[in-house]
């Protein structure tokens, strides 16, 4: 609640950002430009006409994802289904630092290896929707298990904020989590919170803002696959992917998924969907919303 009160309404300023992008027509990413993929987002059921940035909320189940989502969006939320799926999803909006953020609550998952419908939905949203920020909720009392998901998200995108939640419980269990060290190791902002008591949510908002606007650029840690065979195969495939899709931001990850026989990624390559995943189209596709 406290966090919401701080949110200011400066819609005008953010509109300017968008216009700048359209007028110049420069495809290269500018620092504060949104990077989300508006066309794909539309397919995923998110209309970006009235928003500056889209923020995805990922995390294991029971990490307080909904608590944070509710705290950030308040009453400005609605629930529906993922397009073509029976999985419910919640989305909402907030304004902070003069920008309008669309928040999408992804299904709670333990991994992104697409072995279940929930994982597939979460993975597709981060990969194809390319949210401007992906907040990964992490249970501080079960850091190891939760980091599996974080590392997998970091393979796809560097626009990540890790929300280290349930810090009070960790303390109760006699655990001290060094969030600075964690941030250094992961290469992305880590914000400790106690979402149930609204603690740390202001810092979370700041971090989301900074990553969305490009003021904080993550240099994410990538998993080391310490096997020469694997490394060789991955780097070879990575080159191929880069040759065909020169602008794909995460060719290495695509290569890994291909080697793993991920149907959805194979399909994305066949359909050329992967080619859409370039920087800069977040502003190109924007159409002014029809007055209604």
């Amino acid at each position: 609640m406290e966090a919401k009160e701080k949110i200011m309404n400066q819609g005008k300023e953010s509109r300017e950002v968008k216009d700048r992008g359209q007028d110049s027509g420069i495809p290269a990413p500018c620092e504060t430009c949104p990077v989300h993929h508006a066309a794909n987002l539309k397919k995923l059921g998110v209309d970006m006409a009235d928003w500056d940035f889209v923020v995805a909320l990922a995390g294991n189940p029971n990490t307080g994802k909904s608590t944070v989502f509710n705290a950030l969006t308040g009453l400005r939320q609605h629930t529906g289904n993922w397009p073509g799926k029976t999985v419910t999803r919640a989305e909402g909006g907030m304004e902070y630092g003069g920008y309008r953020f669309k928040l999408v609550d992804l299904p709670g998952t333990y991994s992104l290896l697409a072995t279940s419908l929930d994982e597939e939905i979460a993975r597709d949203f981060i990969l194809f929707g390319r949210p401007d920020v992906t907040v990964v909720m992490v249970d501080a009392t079960r850091l190891e298990r939760n980091l599996n998901l974080v590392l997998q998200v970091l393979e796809i995108t560097n626009r990540v904020v890790v929300c280290l939640n349930l810090m009070d419980e960790a303390e109760r269990h006699g655990l001290t989590v060094d969030h600075r060290r964690l941030a250094r190791d992961l290469g992305v902002p880590v914000v400790p919170t106690v979402a149930r008591y609204d603690k740390g949510l202001d810092d979370l908002l700041d971090a989301i803002h900074d990553v969305a606007t490009g003021q904080a650029v993550g240099k994410p840690y990538h998993v080391q696959y310490d096997q020469p065979q694997v490394d060789r195969a991955v780097s070879r495939l990575e080159q191929r992917v880069q040759a065909v899709f020169p602008d794909v931001p995460n060719a290495k990850w695509v290569a890994l998924r291909l080697l793993d026989g991920d149907e959805r990624i194979i399909e994305a390559i066949e359909e050329g969907e992967l080619g859409d995943l370039q920087y800069g189209d977040g502003m190109r596709v924007e159409e002014p919303a029809p007055a209604s």
Binding site: L147, T176, D185, Y221, V223, V244, L258
Partner: protein, 524 residues
């Protein structure tokens, strides 16, 4: 990490694409333009970069997949787990784990134990109702004396002074206002106590343990264990319970969960149960026991609902919805100290006020309808009287009466208004005097209670009270829930089953109880 490898190793076998890669022989990659190139020849590959096509990537992936070996998936997962463990280890420092006493685990062992699990569940439920019933007395009395004894006469005076025509005065003040005031004074106090208590239990993390305890029974009934969760949701609101069955993947088990959700006593019906139990069951015993016995009666009805859920699930899964129950894993979240203030706030806003608002929204027009049918005469008697006379034989047969059945028809949109409707219809059709003076004192246990007087005037007995509690548990869901069921199942047939099955069962159960009751009465 070790755990992960165990089951992950099965995954490549399940992965349809994997077989394809495996089946291919290792061969040079054909490239368009008729050029061949060797895998090891990286320089040449760089030169042909421009010509690489999408198909080449997929082809190459296939052959490389062969090269990296069948345990590739395992290797990736292993690497991720290893890195996660390493990074977590660097960031986390553990205090000396002296003693190693895990409080959470201890609580879990007790509340989910075979011996104590169910008794503790019953104890918690009884405690919650006892607090609700004994706590609601005073505020309920205050509210009704304010709204019915003070404000109602004032409104009447005011309308006299303004010179409102008699019918308008009746529709607005004796119809709309009175029904609304009744709903508020009857429902607000118990809800304002019950919902926060229930939400506290939820917040503490007890409800998933309830699901855990019930899982085994559901499996035995041929239903999905997650039905325990949708059922607990139904204790709040059946429409929400029906929506929450989405967590069940199998359509067969989901249908069972949807159809039986109505047997979970919902928000709109708790106040009816609590009131009738207090007036009819609680008054059978001395005052100091009344609260406890009333609470036990309500718990009994709620348990009967759970029992019916199992019975109907079993019957469905062994007849029209045959099949094996599927498995699932249920994570028991750690216990969290309940946030008392937030819980009070949200349960007051989210549940109490929303439910109350819904009741008021339905009660206002219902009050008007009731006043109109009670005052519009056809052939010398009012429409309400006609309806009641028509339904009375059936009502009496099943131990209820015509008024109650008419009330249940009027209350299809919302269960919340059954009691106010019953009271208003009884008052209006029996021509009881002094309606505006304390008729809504709901939770007074003295036999002189005005509410009891109204019921007495309507010819109510203990049987009527008991059967009303039973019928309130076993009858068709409210119209919101019926619509939700239709939206979720997209089937008129199953919606009809979900609506009519409990109604039919309600008639059968109350009929049996009434007949046996009268038989025993006659023998004594």
């Amino acid at each position: 990490m070790v755990m992960a490898c165990g089951w992950r190793s099965l995954l490549p076998l399940l992965d349809p694409s994997f077989g394809v890669g495996r089946g291919l022989r290792h061969q040079p990659i054909p490239v368009q333009n008729g050029r061949l190139h060797n895998l090891d020849d990286e320089e040449r590959m760089d030169m042909t970069d421009k010509e690489v096509s999408k198909e080449d990537i997929i082809e190459e992936a296939r052959s490389l997949r062969w090269e990296v070996g069948g345990d590739f998936h395992e290797k990736i997962v292993e690497s991720i787990y290893a890195d996660a463990a390493r990074i977590a280890d660097r960031a986390v420092t553990r205090e000396d784990e002296q003693g190693g006493f895990d409080f959470d685990r201890f609580i879990d062992q007790v509340v989910t134990s075979k011996v104590w699990g169910f008794p503790i569940m019953l104890l918690m439920l009884t405690l919650v109702f006892w607090l609700t019933i004994s706590g609601a007395n005073v505020p309920s009395r205050l509210l009704s004396s304010l709204l019915l004894d003070t404000v109602h006469p004032l409104l009447k005076q005011a309308s006299d002074m303004v010179g409102l025509p008699g019918w308008l005065d009746g529709v607005l003040i004796d119809g709309g206002y009175l029904a609304t005031a009744w709903v508020i004074s009857v429902m607000l106090p118990p809800m304002a106590i019950f919902f926060p208590l229930f939400t506290l239990l939820e917040d503490f993390g007890y409800l998933p343990r309830v699901a855990f305890n019930l899982d085994n029974l559901f499996r035995k009934a041929g239903a999905h264990g997650k039905q325990a969760l949708s059922m607990t949701m139904g204790f709040g609101c059946n429409a929400a319970g029906v929506v929450s069955t989405r967590i069940i993947d199998s359509p067969r088990e989901r249908l069972i969960a949807i159809i039986t959700n109505n047997f979970a006593l919902c928000n709109g019906r708790w106040p009816t149960q609590i009131l009738i139990a207090t007036l009819f069951v609680g008054s059978l015993v001395p005052g100091y026991l009344a609260g406890l016995i009333s609470a036990l009666a309500v718990v009994g009805i709620a348990l009967l609902g759970v029992l019916l859920t199992f019975a109907v699930s079993w019957a469905l899964s062994h007849s029209v919805l045959k099949g094996e129950p599927s498995t699932f894993s249920l994570e028991l979240p750690p216990y969290r100290p309940p946030r008392v203030l937030q819980t009070l706030y949200t349960s007051l806003i989210d549940r109490t006020l929303i439910v109350l608002w819904r009741a008021v929204v339905f009660a206002l027009p219902a009050g008007i309808v009731i006043w109109v049918i009670a005052n519009l005469n056809v052939a010398g008697t009012s429409i309400a009287e006609h309806l009641i006379q028509f339904l009375n034989p059936l009502g009496v047969l099943i131990g209820l009466n015509g008024v109650i059945l008419v009330a249940y028809i009027v209350a299809i949109p919302a269960n919340e208004i059954v009691i106010p409707t019953v009271l208003m219809l009884t008052v209006m059709t029996t021509g009881l005097s002094g309606v505006g003076e304390g008729a809504g004192v709901m939770f007074e246990l003295e036999s002189a209670s005005k509410t009891m007087e109204i019921f007495r005037a309507g010819g109510w007995t203990l049987l009527t009270g008991v059967n009303l509690m039973l019928f309130s548990l076993i009858h068709n869901p409210c119209s919101t829930t019926i619509y939700t069921i239709y939206k979720e199942t997209r089937s008129a047939k199953w919606t009809a089953v979900a609506a009519l099955l409990p109604l039919g069962m309600g008639f059968v159960v109350t009929l049996l109880v009434a007949q046996i009751w009268r038989l025993v009465r006659g023998l004594l």
